[in-house]
Symmetry: C2
């Protein structure tokens, strides 16, 4: 079916999609004829268009409007016709600089890159950070945080920082805390959070007697704190960009839906998690993305890694009518930039 289209037909489809991306208006046969150097008359184009419509790639808002690409049309365009624009030197530089400025903890870094990505693409940008349970710990520390409260801080390789508050713990002395921090760090050496948790339970069970009361309590406490999994994080930047898109600016209802989704992190998480596992860039067009609340938006996302393991993904969320030829390379570049940045951390 799809692949059974001749060259001329696909060229027409390509022009229609690109014109539609540029103008957000239904495109007519006349326009396409001109765009193709008048090698074909409008009438011929119309025939081809009729074929494309039958094949499901185009649709007509009403009898005598031009054609608009359907989801399938965009899909085909992305998969087979897309001519990627290469990034401008300046854009790459900007991204690099942004990454350089994100010289705080890791979340600072991804946030900066995400922000710039959203500016360059003029779309809303999203970064998700998967729950860092699988990542290798760099260090652990127990800190006093007020009366009967202790803070367990964990730092992963790459600079992800997490903290959990442990409440209702009768105060340990500073010395005790330090002693126990040191001990925890030993246990944590080269392990993931998950492994550390297991190790702690192990120690606890194995030789309870070996520890004095303080140590035992500290172990129990840490185990407890590490039990509730941290949920992973979502950063959204450039929300206002979606107002730049006429399809949202005009339709308050759609706008509301997507803004609400932005506030519900789990929804965004679901949108991007497919990209997280896969290595290649993922483009979900409209209805394809499995989130039923948002059937009419597209997501372009790519996972980024730290060494061999995926730690999250970065991407753009916007209308189906996106400038994919520009946006796909941008996202790819941003993701690979993050991967590179994490390499030497």
């Amino acid at each position: 079916m799809a692949s059974g289209m001749d060259d001329r037909t696909t060229r027409v489809l390509r022009h229609i999609v690109e014109d539609y991306i540029a103008t957000a208006e239904p495109v007519g046969s006349r326009t396409i004829s001109k765009k193709m150097g008048q090698s074909l008359s409008p009438a011929t184009i119309r025939n081809i268009m009729a074929d494309l419509e039958e094949a499901g790639f185009l649709a007509q808002p009403h009898t005598s409007a031009g054609r608009v690409p359907t989801g399938a049309g965009f899909r085909y365009y992305i998969d087979h016709l897309l001519a990627r624009q290469s990034l401008a030197r300046g854009e790459m530089d900007q991204l690099h600089r942004a990454a350089g400025e994100g010289n705080g903890p890791a979340d600072e870094l991804v946030r900066q890159v995400s922000r710039l990505l959203s500016n360059l693409a003029r779309q809303a940008s999203v970064v998700v950070v998967s729950s860092p349970e699988q990542q290798i710990l760099s260090s652990v520390s127990l800190m006093r945080a007020g009366v009967e409260r202790i803070l367990l801080v964990t730092v992963m390789r790459g600079g992800w920082v997490q903290h959990r508050l442990i409440e209702g713990e009768p105060d340990l002395t500073g010395d005790e805390l330090e002693k126990f921090s040191a001990y925890l760090n030993e246990l944590a050496e080269g392990r993931t959070l998950l492994q550390l948790r297991a190790r702690i339970l192990d120690e606890l069970g194995k030789e309870k007697a070996r520890y004095d009361r303080v140590m035992g309590r500290a172990l129990t406490m840490s185990a407890r704190a590490l039990t509730d999994a941290a949920p992973g994080e979502v950063f959204i930047e450039g929300r206002a960009n979606i107002l730049e898109q006429p399809e949202f600016a005009e339709d308050v209802h759609r706008l509301k839906r997507i803004l609400r989704a932005f506030e519900e992190k789990s929804v965004i998480f679901r949108l991007l998690d497919r990209a997280m596992v896969s290595r290649a860039i993922q483009v979900s067009v409209g209805i394809e993305n499995t989130v039923e609340e948002l059937p009419d938006i597209s997501v372009v996302a790519s996972g980024y890694r730290q060494g061999a393991s995926s730690v999250g993904s970065i991407g753009l969320i916007g209308p189906v009518r996106m400038d994919y030829s520009r946006v796909i390379p941008l996202v790819e570049y941003a993701a690979s930039l993050l991967t590179t940045m994490f390499e030497d951390r």
Copy 2:
């Protein structure tokens, strides 16, 4: 001038404001006459309205529409005519519960409360946390964070956590880090961040010789990390609520402006900082708020404290036409709730 209005006039103003708050439509003399139990005829009301317009409290969108309160009108209403609604038992409970769930670090707590506040008020809610430089430290820790990177974690009383990455530091051994953490903690005891910084510099200058090379380097490094002031934080919840307001839903331009402002934290900061210092609740109506980008929005905010010192403020941002009688008590309650929560931290 203003106070020179007789009782009847102010009652009319009150009804106009309240009706306008409820309907978002210009209100006419007929409506007000009915609302006041027909004790006065529409014609009389019209005369009063003309007076109020002359005094600057009302305006007419066009010759034969009803009247709309001006900024000054709202101002007068808020200052003199407002009948506060008391909170429903259920709302107070909900807020309490939200505060209870925020049982992580302090930012978790304020975020929860802010989120619920935004739900109850159906407006966007904002919390700012002032730069915690003035707050008293609870503990400090230096942690390894990858190659040549060290993380300085500071925990304030009340549970505010900050971390700064120190880059390009040749690795210290775990032992050295621990030793120095302990030393730093001693210096920090009962001090604010600012004082700690001063103290460190002091130590450094005073008796350089006393410290071995490692200690010296560690001191320098900490001083450096503590030099760039942390900017303070802004959390915004319930952005989508502003779409519920017809004044924004209809006017894409205003919408865009306010969404952009939400992305520019410094703007939001400026909006709320007045509330931070003052103890009473602050209501800025429209043009009054000093941020020139947003002349047509209102801010209702109140500072919250930790012990004697203000640590930030919580509030709502929305159209000038807000239900102040409901929203003001809500914000007050939320702020006092935060203050209470921080009391026993």
